[in-house]
Amino acid sequence: MEATTQSTAPKRTVACTTCYMCACRCGIKVHLQDGKLRYIEGNRDHPINRGVLCGKGSAGIMTAVSPARLSNPLRRTGPRGSGQFEAISWDEALRIATDRLARIRATDPNRLALYTGRDQSQALTSYFAQMFGTINYAAHGGFCSVDMAAAGLYSVGGSFWEFGEPDWEHARLFLLFGVAEDHDSNPIKLGLGKLKDRGAKIISINPVRTGYSAIADEFVAITPGTDGLLIFALIHCLLDAGKIDTEFLIRYTNAHHLVVDAPGDPLHGLFARDPAGFELCFDRTAGALRAARALGTDPALNGVFTLPDGHRARPAFALLAERYADPQYAPEAVASRCGIDAGTIRRIAAELAEVAFNQPVVLQQAWTDTDGHRHASMTGRPVAMHAMRGVSAHSNGFHTCRAIHVLQMLLGAIDTPGSWRYKSPFPRQIPGGPAPGRARVPGGPLDGSPLGFPRGPEDLLVDEAGEALRLDRAFSWEAPLAVHGLMHMAIARAYEAGPDRIDTLFLFMSNMAWNSAMNPGETTRMLSACDAAGNYRIPFVIVADAFASETVAYADLVLPDTTYLERYDCISLLDRPIGSAHGPADAIRIPVLRPDRDVRPFQDVLIDLAGRLGLPEFATGTGVPLYSSYADYMVRHERRPGIGPLAGFRGKDGQAIGVGAPNPRQLDRYIKNGSFWQHELPAEQLYFKHANRAYLAGAKAMGLLESDDQIVLQLYCEPLQRFRLAAEGHGSRRPPERLRARISRFFDPLPIWYQPLEQAMTDRAKFPLYAITQRPMAMYHSWGSHNAWLRQILPENRIYLHRDLAVQLGIRDEDWVWVRSRNGNLKCRARTMSGVNRDTVWTWNAIGKRTGAWALAHDAPEFRRGFLLNHLISEYLPDRPGQAADSNSDPITGQAAWFDLTVSIEPCEPNTPDETSPRPAANPLRVRRTAEGTL
C-alpha cells in the first residue's frame, strides 16, 4: 500500500507513522526524497509528543541504515553462542519452526515457552500463546515494572508506568519517585516543561541527580530501597496533623469498610460482608451496620464494632491510622535509614498538606458521580505523583508502590484536577482483569490469557503439592501476583527444568543473553550447556530480532525482523495504547521504506506460523489460515464481537469508536488521520473517572470496560489477606511449608516496608554500598549502540560515586576501579559527582556490549570500556543451607530486583590494562550464505 501523502515540495514525500526508537510511541512525520530517508520530525498533531522528538527518535535515520541489521533467516551451524550461521530461505525457516511447534503442540503445548520484550504487539503474542495452548508466555513486565502495574491495578485500578499521568495543567506540587526517563519519555518532558512554566514545585526523590532530577526544585537523595519508609513518615505526619481527605476516602475508597478482627479465624482480615456479599460499614447516625456503598450514611472511620456473628470489626482506615501513627514511622525514626533528615520529611509533609488542602483546584465543570450525586464543580488536590523503577526494581517495590497510592488516596489526589490521572482505557475494575488461563481441551486453546490477575489462592497455577506449573513460577506461591510473569527467570528455569519441561524457547525482541539477563555470564553458560550426551539442556532456541544482538548468537533459528519503518504495527487498546487522561487513543505503524534485505515483519511471521499450525482463531477448523498478514489481522480480527486491535474508525462507515464491525477501509482512515486515532473525552468525563457516571458509561459503551460500576479504590488490599490466610492454614490451597512464613510476612493488606531481600541476606560490612543503574535519555537499552549518532554520545560508561566517598577511597575521575559484589568482580572506570546519595554508586544501563555484537569494530569502546552492571547481579538470592535459592524478585509480584545490589569499590592496581572486565570472548555473527542465499 502506498502510504504517503504528497507534500508541497516536489519529489519529497511525507508519511506519518509511529516512532519505535523506544517504547514511547511518538507520532512521526517521515520525509523521503526519491525513496530515501531525509528527515524524521515529530508530528505536531500527535497526542503523545505534540511535535517534539527525542534524541533517539531523531536518530532513526541511522538505525535504518545500520550495518547491524539482520538480513536473512539463519540456521545455526557452529556450537550455540559461536555466532556461526548459514543463511536459509524463509520457506525453510518457517518449515523448521512449524514442524517443531506442531510436534510440541500435539504432545504438551506447555513445552513451548514464548517470551517477548518491549514489543507493542503483546495483544497478538499472548493471543498466539493462548491459542497455541501454552501457559508459558510472558512479556517484559516481570523484569521491568510489574510492581507498579500490580500495586496500581490492585489498589486504584490504574497504575504509574505509562498508564497514568500527572495533571500537568493543574498540579502545583509534583513528587517524582525514582524516575530517570520512563516509557513516557516525551510526555513527561513536555509535562515537566509545563510545570516549570507555571512555577509548580517539583520534588525528585532519587539517589541520583541527573536528567529530570537535575531540574527538580528539590532533590531528595534517598538511600535506595527506603522509599516506603519515607512515604510512611509522610503519612505519619499527615495523620498527626489531621490532614486527610476523609470525604474522598468514604466516597471513593474502602477506608470505611469494616475489617474482621478475629485472629485465627478464617475470616480474619477480610471485609465484613452482609449475606448478599456486600461489604459493611458502621453508620454513625443510624448507629448500625450498613452496606458500605449505601447512600445517606455517616460511615465511621474509627472505632471497634461488633458484627452479627459476634466478631469484632474495625474500619480499614482505623487499622491504617494505627499502623502509620506509630512512632516507628515518625520522620525522626526513619531519617537515618532513608538518608534524609527529619526536618526535610516534615517540611515535605507540610507542603503536601498545604497544597492539597489550602490550594485546591476548582474547575467550573459539573459532573455526576456513580451514586447519582450531581456536583457543580470539580475540586481537586493539586498534588501529583509519579513513580517508576526506582521503586519497582526493588524486592519491596510492590508495597512501596502501594504506599504511594495510599498516600495519594489519603490526600484525595487520585484522578482529581491537579493530581495523578488515569490514562484511558484505565481505570479498570480492580484487580484489573480475569485470572490467568489454566485449562485446555486437547488441541484447543487455553481457557484464558496466560497472564491474568489472581484474586486469591484459588487462581494460582500450582500443582497438588503447591509447586509452580509455569516455567518461570509465576502465579505460584513464589510469586502469586506475578501478573506479567518472570521473564528474567525463564532461561534459568528452562535450564534447571531440562528438556522434559521445555523444548523450545522462543524469544522475541529482548536481549536475554545480555542486558536483560540478571547475570549474563551465567545466562549464556546455561544457554549453551549440554547434558552428558552432548544435547543442549534447552533443546531449541528461536530468536526473532531485527539486529545482530548478543542473544542472536545463542539461537538455533533466527527470524530476522524488519525495522520499524518497514512494517505495519498496531499500538492497540488491547495492549499498551497511546491513550491519555484526555481520552482513549491508538495508533499504527506503516511501512514507509521497502526492506532491502530478506526480512519479514515478525507479526506477519507469527500470524503465518499460527496459520500453518492451524491455531484456533488464526485458521479455520480445517486449517485454512484466516489472515494474510498483520495488516489484515489488525483490521479483521475481533477479540470480542465488535472489538478488534484498533478502536478507531470501526463499523462499515468508519464512524464507530471502540465497538463496531470491522471496517475494511480502517487502515486508510488511520493513515489519513496521521496513523493514529484519538477520542477526546468531553470535559465532564475528564476527572474522577473511577466514579464518574458519564465516563464509566461511555467507557463501557466503547468496550473499554465490562461494567460501569464505580471502581472502589482499595486502600486496604483484601486479596493479599486471602493469601496470608492460606499461609496461616486456612482454606484448601495452602503454600508449601517452606514458603508459609514468607507469604504470611509479605502478604499484608496494608503497605509494609522491609529491607530489600538481597540486602538483608548480604554481608553489608563487605558490601556497604548500593549499586543501581539509570536509563540514559539518548540510548534505548542495547539498541542504540549500532546507531552512528547515538553511539557518539554514549559509547562507553562510568561508575559514578560521591566525591566524598571517592576521596575516602582514593579514587579520582577516570580511574579504573574494581566494583565487587557477592556475585563477582567488575572492572570499570569511575567518575565522581556530588549529586548522588553518599552510599550509592550508579551507572548508565546497557551501554557495555559483548565483543563482536552489533556489527561494531572489534576494538569499539562499547566492548573495551563500556560495561554492564548486570555482571554483578544474580537472578538468584544467596543460597540458604538446605534450600534451593529463591529468585531475586519481589516475593509478591516476581518483579526482578535489579536495584537491590550491594557492592564494594576500590581503585585498581596501578598500570592495569585499559579494559573492562569481565569481557566475555567475542562471538561475532558469521553467516555462511548458501548457494541460493540472496543478499
Partner: protein, 313 residues
C-alpha cells in the same frame, strides 16, 4: 592550543626571513652596508625569501582547501590573516627591487628609501602574523601586548644572528655592529620571553566555568559529563594542554637554547673566536630554540572554550 607543525614552521621561518630582510633594509637605510655588497645583499635577500617561502608554503599547507588560498587576500579590512598574506606577498617585490637596486648600484637615495620600505614591509608582515594571534580574545596568552612586541623582537633577533652568520661567511668575521646587534637583540629577546612568561603566569583565567555557563556570581561549577565521550574537533584544537611541570622544563630549555646560547655564541663570534662555528651555532640554536619557544607559545595557550569541557584555561 594544538601546536601544528606547519604553523610553528611558518612563524619561525618567516621570523628569520623577515628579520634578515629588516636588517638588510635597515643597514642600507643608515648606510651601514659595505659598499659593493651586491652579492652579499643578493644572497641575504635570496635566503630570506627562501625562508619566507618555506614559511608561507607551510601556512598554505595548513589550509584544508589550498586551491582556494587566493581568497585569503580579500579581507584585508578586518582580517589580520588576510593582511599577513598581502604583506607577505608584497614583501617579495620589495625585497627583489631592493636587491636589484643594490645590484645595479642605484643611487643611494633610492636604495636607502627601498631599505626603509623593506624594513616596514618585513616587520609589518611579522606584525600582521603576530596580530593574528594577539587579536584572538578567547586566548589570554595571546591576546595581550606582549605578543606583537615579542614576535617583532624574535624576528629582529633571529634576523640579527642570521645576518651575523651571513657576514661571517662573506667577510670572515661577524663584524662589531652585527655582533652587537645580535648580542643585544638576543638579550632583549631573552628578557622579553621571560617577561611574557611572567605575564601569562600571573594572568587570571578568562572565565570560571560557572561564569561561562551563565551561573550567578560566586557560583562554582564542575563538569560532570561532556557531550560526547570521544575527542572532537574543538577538543583536538582547543583542548590541547601541557602539564605545568613539563612546561617549566621546556621553558628552561627554550631559554637556554633559544636565547642564552645564541647570545653567548654571538659574543664569541664578535670576539672572532672560531667565528664561523660560533655564528653558525648561534643561528642553529636560535632556530631550534625559537621553534621550541613557538611550540610552547601554542601549547601553553589555553582557549576559553575548553572551559566548557572542564579543562583548566
Amino acid at each position: 592550543m594544538k601546536p601544528a607543525a606547519s604553523v610553528l614552521l611558518l612563524t619561525t621561518a618567516t621570523g628569520f626571513g623577515f628579520g634578515l630582510l629588516a636588517w638588510l633594509g635597515a643597514y642600507c637605510a643608515v648606510g651601514f652596508l659595505p659598499t659593493h655588497a651586491r652579492l652579499f645583499v643578493a644572497a641575504g635577500v635570496g635566503i630570506s625569501l627562501a625562508l619566507i617561502s618555506l614559511g608561507l608554503g607551510a601556512s598554505v599547507f595548513h589550509l584544508e582547501r589550498k586551491e582556494r588560498a587566493w581568497r585569503a587576500f580579500s579581507q584585508w579590512r578586518s582580517s589580520w590573516l588576510s593582511r599577513e598574506g598581502i604583506a607577505g606577498v608584497l614583501s617579495y617585490p620589495v625585497a627583489i627591487a631592493f636587491a636589484l637596486a643594490l645590484w645595479r648600484d642605484e643611487p643611494p637615495l633610492w636604495t636607502r628609501l627601498l631599505g626603509v620600505v623593506l624594513v616596514l614591509v618585513s616587520l609589518g608582515t611579522v606584525y600582521c602574523t603576530a596580530m593574528i594571534y594577539a587579536s584572538l580574545k578567547p586566548i589570554r596568552q595571546w591576546h595581550n601586548a606582549h605578543t606583537a612586541a615579542d614576535y617583532l623582537i624574535y624576528a629582529v633577533f633571529s634576523g640579527a644572528v642570521l645576518y651575523a652568520l651571513l657576514n661571517t661567511v662573506a667577510h670572515g668575521t661577524a663584524g662589531t655592529v652585527a655582533s652587537v646587534a645580535a648580542v643585544t637583540s638576543a638579550g632583549i629577546a631573552l628578557l622579553a620571553k621571560r617577561a611574557y612568561w611572567r605575564h601569562i603566569d600571573a594572568q587570571a583565567p578568562l572565565a570560571t566555568l560557572a561564569a561561562a555557563i551563565g551561573m550567578p556570581g560566586g557560583a562554582e561549577a564542575r563538569a560532570l559529563d561532556a557531550p560526547h565521550f570521544t575527542e572532537n574537533f574543538v577538543l583536538r584544537q582547543m583542548g590541547f594542554s601541557i602539564a605545568r611541570r613539563h612546561a617549566k622544563k621546556l621553558r628552561r630549555i627554550a631559554l637556554a637554547i633559544g636565547f642564552a646560547l645564541p647570545l653567548a655564541c654571538s659574543v664569541l663570534a664578535g670576539c672572532a673566536l672560531l667565528p664561523l662555528a660560533t655564528a653558525s651555532l648561534a643561528v642553529l640554536c636560535a632556530g631550534g630554540g625559537l621553534l621550541l619557544e613557538r611550540w610552547l607559545f601554542f601549547a601553553e595557550a589555553t582557549h576559553v572554550a575548553a572551559v566548557y569541557y572542564g579543562r583548566k584555561i
